[in-house]
């Protein structure tokens, strides 16, 4: 630690260049804050690719029959949309961007436990992303299996699957390394006096998430390797022609991919749990209940994977066991909703952009969660399985949940990250347009699914036309909102008014350091005393 004196405390992480200049000062930096922004810019680029693919799908569905692409292209588009959005954006999103940027500051540390490993994780992430993109550009056609790579089609199709499968494996490796880094950081580097019950809630959710990343990702890793080996050598484990069982693939895939839903949603809940107390200017209601429900979700989330396979062929016992467990995992999520609402009760609510996002998060998350119970119940699942209803549920949770929380987080921590304030009016305009577009885009899919429109088809019957037009219009409105939000943030990062240390009167540690934070975050490591806590208003 003696070498700290080399780096002046009054230079922010954005100005300090170290040995290198320009781009190199970013891609060779082991500063957790710069790495967080590296992730943010790479994800934003990939996200825009995913958005364009989503728009293309919605445009195809504006009318029955072929509009702009045929069935095979549509298969490729929804596969690549899914792989990019799931493996590159939503799974790593909040931990890699905000976790990297804020975890060390929020627990009073100068960096994560292994800064070089942290930078290496970003390179692994980029390598995985490039591999997936390579599958589009080279070989015999883009992947067309859907993001789930279901056997046996994933090794029978003539499309260029290997780079996509291997890319997903590599992205999982990046996620494991980040999780490992965060667990050690939280165990070893909390500020003196910050016991487990004084740690802010966002780091707590990162902790739960990191364990899931660590314990679930290897299972999908080996499963993807087996699919690749099946393709190359024909080893037989998932190939019914050689005695293998494709249902076993589904089990192994969902053993990871259901907990992965919690990798996505837990940090989102954590970010919301930071925003709501700050904008209610009130101690968070039921801190311990939120922590306990976080860990309960992480734990129970391991045992519900079978609800993706009710129609795949399972014994009755397995079906209702998985169904009951799925209902159980809804309880801790509901506890959190009650905690957030109770935190607002009798608070002095400061209605700002992050609060709008957080409140609308609760709204869409509840719709997504409750529609999840329709899918978790055996009788109704058989009816709506593989219809647009599933797509609607999934997007309400993953895009409505994680996406809205991401926007809440970026509008909350933006002044800390860039030292400037954004234009609130435009931010609010962007939010309301996005919100309306979102509801118009995905709500009709609930109705369409109930009416029996299957998912993953480029064509549909005339009776589904009206609702599909509404959905496509919604996709345009939502994109307009997105463009406004992004332009506003980019402009403000360059030329917004200077933001102070603590523009929202937050109580967690990141608001005690200058904006943007200096390279080493703290001049002296803060010490927590008996009466201190993260939400003492």
């Amino acid at each position: 630690m003696q070498a700290s004196s080399h780096i002046p405390h009054d230079v922010s992480y954005l100005e300090y260049k170290g040995k290198h200049n320009g781009l190199l000062s970013w891609i060779l930096s082991t500063d957790h804050k710069r790495i967080g922004l590296l992730y943010m810019y790479s994800m934003m680029t990939l996200f825009l690719v995913g958005v364009v693919l989503g728009l293309a799908m919605k445009f195809e569905l504006i009318a029955p029959g072929k509009t702009i692409m045929d069935a095979q292209d549509y298969n490729a588009v929804f596969t690549v949309h899914g792989v990019i959005m799931i493996f590159m954006i939503v799974v790593p999103g909040l931990p890699a961007v905000f976790g990297n940027f804020l975890l060390p500051i929020m627990i009073g540390a100068k960096d994560v436990a292994f800064p070089k490993l942290n930078l290496a994780s970003w390179y692994v992430y980029i390598a995985g992303a490039l591999l997936v993109i390579a599958s589009l550009l080279f070989g015999d056609g883009s992947p067309d299996t859907g993001w789930t790579f279901y056997a046996p089609y994933s090794f029978k199709t003539g499309a260029n699957m290997l780079p996509a499968i291997f890319g997903a494996f590599v992205l999982g490796f990046s996620s494991i390394l980040t999780g490992l880094n965060f667990i050690v950081t939280i165990h070893r580097m909390r500020a003196p006096g910050m016991g487990w019950t004084k740690m802010p809630l966002f780091p707590w959710t990162l902790y739960g998430t990191a364990w899931i990343q660590l314990l679930a990702t290897p299972v999908v890793g080996i499963t993807l390797v087996l699919v690749a080996l099946e393709r190359i050598f024909g080893i037989g484990v998932f190939d019914p022609a050689l005695g293998g069982d494709p249902i076993l693939y589904q089990h192994l895939f969902w053993i990871y991919s259901h907990p992965a839903v919690y990798i996505m949603i837990l940090p989102a809940m954590g970010a919301i749990s930071e925003v709501i107390p700050t904008f209610s200017q009130k101690h968070v209601f039921g801190y311990k209940a939120i922590v306990a429900s976080t860990m309960a979700i992480a734990f129970v989330g391991y045992f519900v994977w079978g609800h993706h396979m009710f129609t795949s062929g399972m014994s009755g016992t397995a079906q209702y066991t998985f169904s009951i467990l799925t209902f159980l995992v809804a309880i801790p999520s509901a506890i959190k909703v009650f905690n957030w609402i109770s935190t607002m009760y009798k608070g002095s609510i400061n209605v700002q952009t992050p609060f709008y996002w957080a409140a609308s998060f609760i709204f869409v998350f509840m719709i997504g969660g409750l529609s999840g119970l329709v899918l978790g119940a055996l009788a109704t699942d058989v009816y709506v399985h593989d219809t647009a209803f599933v797509v609607a549920h999934f997007h309400f949770i993953v895009f409505g949940g994680v996406g809205f929380a991401f926007f809440a987080a970026i509008h909350y921590w933006f002044p800390k990250m860039f030292g400037r304030m954004y234009d609130s009016l435009w931010a609010n305009v962007g939010w309301i347009i996005f919100f309306i577009g979102f509801l118009a885009l995905y709500s009709p899919m609930f109705y369409l699914g109930m009416q029996g429109m299957p998912r993953r088809y480029y064509d549909y019957l005339e009776q589904f036309h009206a609702a599909n037009i509404l959905s496509t219009l919604g996709s345009w409105v939502m994109t307009l909102g997105l463009v406004i939000i992004i332009i506003n943030l980019f402009r403000s990062a360059k030329s917004g008014p200077i933001a102070g240390k603590n523009p929202w009167n937050g109580k967690t540690l990141e608001w005690t350091v200058p904006s943007p934070p200096p390279v080493e975050n703290f001049e002296t490591i803060p010490v927590y005393h008996e009466k201190d806590g993260p939400y003492e208003y």
Binding site: G18, K19, L119, I183, R188, P218, V219, G234, V237, L252
Partner: protein, 205 residues
């Protein structure tokens, strides 16, 4: 690394040991997925697995087990030699560990080679025409699991190689021994996985 100056001073032996244990969990789960697949298919194809297992050479398997156990011992001894500040002994013991790892791989190479000569490898005509589905699954899993294990042996040897370089250059010493301890942990893991693979493929009949 530009801004690494201040981080390089941060050395937390306890922290890096926790990290290694966490990484070992992920490795166990990686093989755990394969063990699940193995047990499911063994349960469904008991006779075929019995028949196929007799094809494997128990002697070579047993020799390789002894080799790995001894190598686990030598790397453990190298850790205590480093604590006693006996640099030469440490390097010698690490060298022996590396050598034993190599012998294991050579044995494996010949073992696989014999299988290939008999036409036993994934996708071979001999297998699809003459063997039952259960036997095909057995050999499919045999090649995947021992192959993945051999890959871990190679990774372990690379890690030990790096450790040898750092011990001889003096960067790893008695007061800063986390790297050696971690490569020891990793090597024990590789050994442990083999301890499960050996009976599952060679001994249970």
């Amino acid at each position: 690394m530009s801004q690494a100056i201040h981080h390089d001073e941060h050395y937390d032996a306890e922290g890096s040991k926790i990290a290694m244990w966490l990484f070992i969990f992920t490795e166990l789960l990686l093989f755990g997925g394969l063990f699940i697949i193995y047990s499911v298919y063994r349960y469904l194809n008991q006779d075929a697995f019995h028949l196929a297992a007799e094809e494997l050479n128990t002697t070579i398997g047993a020799i390789n087990t002894v080799i790995l156990l001894v190598s686990s011992m030598t790397i453990a001894m190298s850790t205590s030699a480093l604590q006693k500040r006996q640099k030469g002994t440490t390097l010698l013991l690490l060298g022996i560990t590396l050598f034993l790892g190599l012998v294991f791989l050579v044995n494996k190479y010949f073992e696989w080679g014999v299988k290939f000569e008999h036409g036993i490898f994934p996708g071979s005509e001999h297998m699809t025409e003459n063997l039952s589905q259960g036997e095909i699954l057995f050999f499919g899993l045999y090649f995947v699991m021992t192959g993945l294990h051999a890959l871990h042996i190679i990774i372990g040897m690379i890690i030990i190689g790096v450790t040898v370089a750092k011990v001889s250059s003096g960067k790893v010493h008695a007061d800063r021994s986390a790297l050696l301890e971690n490569s020891g942990l990793y090597w024990h893991l590789v050994d442990l996985i083999w301890i499960f693979l050996f009976p599952l493929f060679y001994l249970i009949h």
